[in-house]
Amino acid sequence: MRDVAIIGIGCTNFGEMWERSFRDLFFEAGLNALEDAGAKGEDVDALYVGNMSAGKFIDQEHIGALIADYAGLAGSLHVPSTRVEAACASGGLALREGVLAVASGLHDVVIAAGVEKMTDVETGVTIDALASAADREWEGFMGATFPGLYAMIARLHMHRYGTTREQLAMVAVKNHHNATMNSKAQYEREITIEDVMNSPLIADPLRVYDCSPITDGAAAVVLAPVELARKLNNTPIYVRASAQASDTITLHDRRDITTLDATVYAAQRAYKMADISPKDIDVAEVHDCFTIAEICAIEDLGFVQKGNGGPATEEGMTALDGDIPINPSGGLKACGHPVGATGIKQAVEIVQQLRGEAGGRQVSGAKIGLAHNVGGTGGTAVVHVLSVNR
């Protein structure tokens, strides 16, 4: 297997992009990534695109060909293009597919991208489409919503570990603060604990400000084998590990409802592959689709003991200047969560951090970063470890 590096990154603004279509979003992210890599369309050997639900959101399938076509890579170049789907982990999986393609030696220059256009349908349709990441037959038909499932995780976490409602709110407050320094973020504004606590209930105990928003956006990275990367780019960021794990699709069948075992296993495999431990991670983008999800993530990734996610957040451990800064981009919560694009955006953020290009939200001295992307309530988890050094 060959070592792989990220040599280019691109990301659209995240938000309600009323004037921009699915195709517009993808094109912008892909073009920016290629320009950043100093590569041309002719260099591209393959495309992998993460997308959760274009079939429901824009009534369009066959996304791989559509994207290759509108990127100008299909009509004359006939570049192979593959859509990858694992609900909200689609982007992380697309990155992994791209890494595997380059590592195997099959392809040299590969674009791994993610895109979601979520605001072309009514909100009720969006809620229903997101609920399809859970088990439609045995969760959805019973009235389960996505926030509802995470709310049940939160309720049990609070019951079992004493995690407080305020600690959940602190996740949102921190991530909104980080997003004020990210011009691509959907919400570039501060919020207070009171704002969270007074926002309307969505699924008790989760409130509006505990939930990631509905977002349009796209992100892309360009991958290359290390030798080629050095020729094309001055600051390649190395992919030290790409790991993935599955778990039961239903929340109720899990070994433990408050633990995402898919995260635990993906993380263990990633640390082993990179030959590091959680302590070596300088900065992480984790899957905070809900505030409780970030608390579970920092536990399941091994940054804190199980049950200590709430107090660790309260003590500032996950803040930009904390021991392990979490979600400097603002996370899914404040940067936005265009579901298929999120996993790639996380990698984009970590690359910026490791390059030292993250501006006001720069984590000083970051050398090793982690991106953690979850599908559903934890049926799929993907963990990538990126590093300045090989």
């Binding site: 019973m142 009235g143 929340l251």
Partner: protein, 134 residues
Amino acid sequence: MAVPRLWRHIPTRYNLIGTECQTCGGLYFPPRTTCPTCRRDGRIIERKFKGTGEVVTYTTIYSASAAFHRQTPYVLAIVKLDEGPLLTGQIVCDPDEAKIGMKVRPVFRKLGEDGPSGIIYYGTKFAPLTEASQ
């Protein structure tokens, strides 16, 4: 939605018919064609669950998909059946009645309908187990 998708699960949804693996004794609801533990060594038979159990965790849904929009707020829970398996279902009670550890019993309710002119689908929800209902 075409009718067969709802029709095929009628026995399971009405009466909590799951499966049992005779090799390892594992109990599963919903039914599984393969035992996740024994895989091809598993011997799967039908198993009806009583439907009594305990609330493991719960939430009250205030923002629902279009199909459940008119029923909010409603209580959704993960219930551990007395026989062991866990499942997700609604609890027919007021939001402030729900508690972790609450004992529940099965009730037969409408789960939803395919619009005002489409098929109605029925199945099992849960209600607090009171002395009278025992």
